[in-house]
Symmetry: C2
Subunit: 212 residues, 2 copies
DNA sequence: TCGTCAATTACCCTTTTGGGTGATTTTTAA
DNA sequence: TTAAAAATCACCCAAAAGGGTAATTGACGA
């Protein structure tokens, strides 16, 4: 059984090329192709395709919105984003919105077909440049947490504060006196250069000083 | 010029298979292969390989540590993780630590060689299962922020609280009386089901109720 | 061995927080 | 137009937070 496709792509030449390529009478069958995704959700409900190829930069309504609209009405539809853009924001927005793959337009035909196949098998195909962006994203996100020279005990108490405990509860949890808790928090505030508990909590969470 | 390789893999059979496969006299050249990565950094400095294939589950010292050690002394070395594990934590830790690719051991030889080539060209090859985990990670991370029915004003005041402002400062910033600020915060705490400011800040940041 | 530092406790004091109740006005939705 | 929701302000009051100072103990390294 061939995989049925819908194509949303505003470039006439490219859209027709895709149709020719993917109407191979074997593995793929193009149900319809459109030059914009204004009626993306409706067309998907009408044709019930296995997979959608979605350009991003289209007049009227962006492919990202088309993606969201389709996933909202028929989540099982696989959607491969197909674009010249490798803008970081765009990539992450699409992935978060449920895209099943992200391919750049210079992908060679054989690789494109392999990627569509991979998506149908539950994979998440992406172009190497996209994979690179994702790897970079993670490295960026894991920049070393600044060290404010908090002692273990101080980290423990800060942790309890973040959990929503008052001074008294922290004292009870740690089996120490209320005054000791206050003393520790005073030191913590000084070390973090903050003036109160809420600010300390905000800073600790933002800068990942403690485990969440 | 063939790509020079080092291999760290504790399974004898697999290690020898990799050597046979990759000593093809054309594209790849295996400089040496080891059954543990205790001396990973030293061997890399000695052999100066273009690329390292690193198993994760090895006796004595895990491949993740080997990865970090190598990247610490010779960051230009490409490192492909090669493992049976597709544990989420492991994957993300490796990516953050600078891995250039992440392949599962059942990768077919042709795909493995293509992946090594891709890594040498600056790509970030990964097995489909790994790509899937990454896509899932992003979707997870962007799960819809729970709506606690906070009004705009309440969000604004919560935001100021997170910034470390006391009640008085919030009142001044918003040009409203201290009592109004108190009233708003009381309502906020009720809506968020928390009992104090620190807990509200923690919840707001953890659940991304407000922009950071 | 001595000095330093973390952890602990205590006491004093003021300000801030947070909860309760109630009321007015404005905006929004039905 | 009327009702509900949001925003505003006020007053009372107890508890909590936060800052200062000082002292003791134990561990660890110079």
């Amino acid at each position: 059984m061939a995989t049925s496709l819908l194509i949303f792509e505003d470039n006439n030449q490219l859209r027709q090329s895709l149709q020719l390529l993917l109407n191979d009478g074997m593995f793929f069958s193009v149900k319809a192709a459109f030059e914009n995704c204004l009626r993306a959700a409706e067309e998907v409900l009408l044709h019930e395709p296995d997979l959608v190829i979605m350009d991003i930069d289209m007049p009227g309504r962006s492919g990202v919105e088309g993606l969201k609209a389709i996933k909202a009405v028929r989540p099982a539809t696989k959607i491969i984003m197909f674009t010249v853009f490798d803008d970081d924001e765009q990539i992450f927005e699409c992935i978060c919105a449920g895209a099943d793959g992200y391919l750049l337009k210079h992908t060679p035909p054989a690789r494109l077909m392999a990627a569509l196949q991979e998506a149908m098998e539950g994979g998440s195909p992406m172009s190497p440049q996209v994979a690179n962006k994702i790897f970079h994203y993670f490295r960026q996100a894991s920049k070393p947490a600044p060290d404010y020279n908090l002692s273990e005990r101080e980290k423990e108490i800060l942790q309890l504060l973040i959990k929503g405990n008052g001074y008294k509860m922290i004292a009870a949890e740690c089996f120490i006196s209320l005054d000791t808790v206050k003393k520790h928090l005073k030191n913590i505030y000084t070390k973090l250069h903050v003036s109160c508990g809420t600010e300390a909590v905000a800073k600790a969470l933002k800068e990942k000083i403690v485990a969440v």
